[in-house]
Subunit: 197 residues, 2 copies
DNA sequence: ACACTAGCAGACAGGTCTGTCTGTCTTCAA
DNA sequence: TTGAAGACAGACAGACCTGTCTGCTAGTGT
């Protein structure tokens, strides 16, 4: 039980982690705008002052939430692609399988960045975080398309990004995880057409 | 100048129309949650009581806003497809051209139903309106795919819906209207593969 | 002429949100 | 042992939001 003896540094880090976890759950489930600070601190079991000393403002917490989400998504995608597939071409298609894993997870609510961007004011922290995420997504597909030897990697990557976005939206709004199959099938056809065998 | 002589009935209808127009502009531009009643009535030049007598509640106004948006979108799509293209197959591809028209319009902010659904509580008016819209969208593609003689109309329609959703998301989040070209190109390839010539 | 309808303007209540501040308690370091 | 740091609980201010209510004005029908 080293639970009761925590240095201030450890206590601080633990509180921060609990806040981020609570923000992740509540913000993703109900939307950034709909969830107030009080709900977050109650769910995290943390004082309000702790939140403001750790993140400065609600915007700061939102930024941290989106950055953590981005990092977790990228990390998971990279890891799964590496362990499950061998060639760039397989990975290009596999991207949709990995995305589809989340469709059936409890509490799936679509892409967090699309949701957060919906009501976000222009020039705010959400816009910046979303832009970073979009850049990553485009580069993911572009790099794989290039490695797979696509004739027009930029064009193929753009098409696959669109399929990826659409699959998430359809799985969410239609409550239909089969969007993964549809998107993957379409992606495979486009990839086969764009890559000389 | 028949502007000053209006029957109560006419005045009422005019106030309702102004409210709906104001709601459409503000809700779409800044999000349903972010815009308060006061902003709407000020923009419409209407008293608060008028709003509540016409729509009952903010939820009522939101419902009317989304229904009007749905009707306008469906009407525009049907009309443009009819006037611009002749065959079901052309119309399947043309759907993306018609969608793309909005990408370059000033104030484009992506699909209103995706945005509104982002922070919407489950079981609310937004969810119902979004469901109606999604049903229409799926039927639009399914009917066209069937008329075009697709081997598996259901599967093709699903793929095209995903492309349609993704094109809107990409055009919005990436500020890139070329999503229309990418989506249309991909759609054409999928359609050609799915329809026996 | 007179009640009726309906919009307008704005005050108001009740609730919620963010962010600040006060005071208490615990742990670590000097 | 004593002071610094930091978490906790909660009060508080100021703003905003929804929804109701009260006067006021203007046109309509009897």
């Amino acid at each position: 039980m080293s639970k009761k003896v925590l240095s201030p540094r450890e206590r601080s880090a633990a509180a921060r982690a609990r806040l981020l976890a609570a923000a992740n759950e509540l913000f993703y489930a109900e939307g950034v705008q709909s969830v107030g600070i009080d709900r977050v601190i109650e769910h995290a079991g943390v004082a309000k002052a702790t939140l403001y000393s750790a993140f400065g403002s609600k915007d700061g917490l939102v930024r941290a939430y989106l950055q953590a989400r981005h990092a977790a998504t990228a990390e998971r995608m990279t890891r799964e692609l590496e362990t499950r597939y061998d060639t760039p071409k397989e990975r290009l298609v596999g991207t949709f399988e990995v995305q589809g894993l989340s469709f059936t997870e409890p509490g799936f609510r679509g892409c967090a960045f699309i949701s957060a961007s919906a009501d976000a004011p222009p020039g705010g922290v959400v816009e910046q975080a979303a832009q970073d995420y979009r850049t990553w997504l485009h580069e993911l597909f572009f790099d794989l398309a290039q490695q797979a030897g696509a004739k027009d990697a930029k064009s193929l990557a753009h098409q696959l990004v669109i399929l990826y976005d659409g699959a998430g939206v359809s799985a969410w709004l239609d409550r239909d995880p089969s969007a993964e199959t549809a998107a993957r099938t379409a992606a495979a056809a486009l990839i086969d057409a764009a890559i000389p065998n």
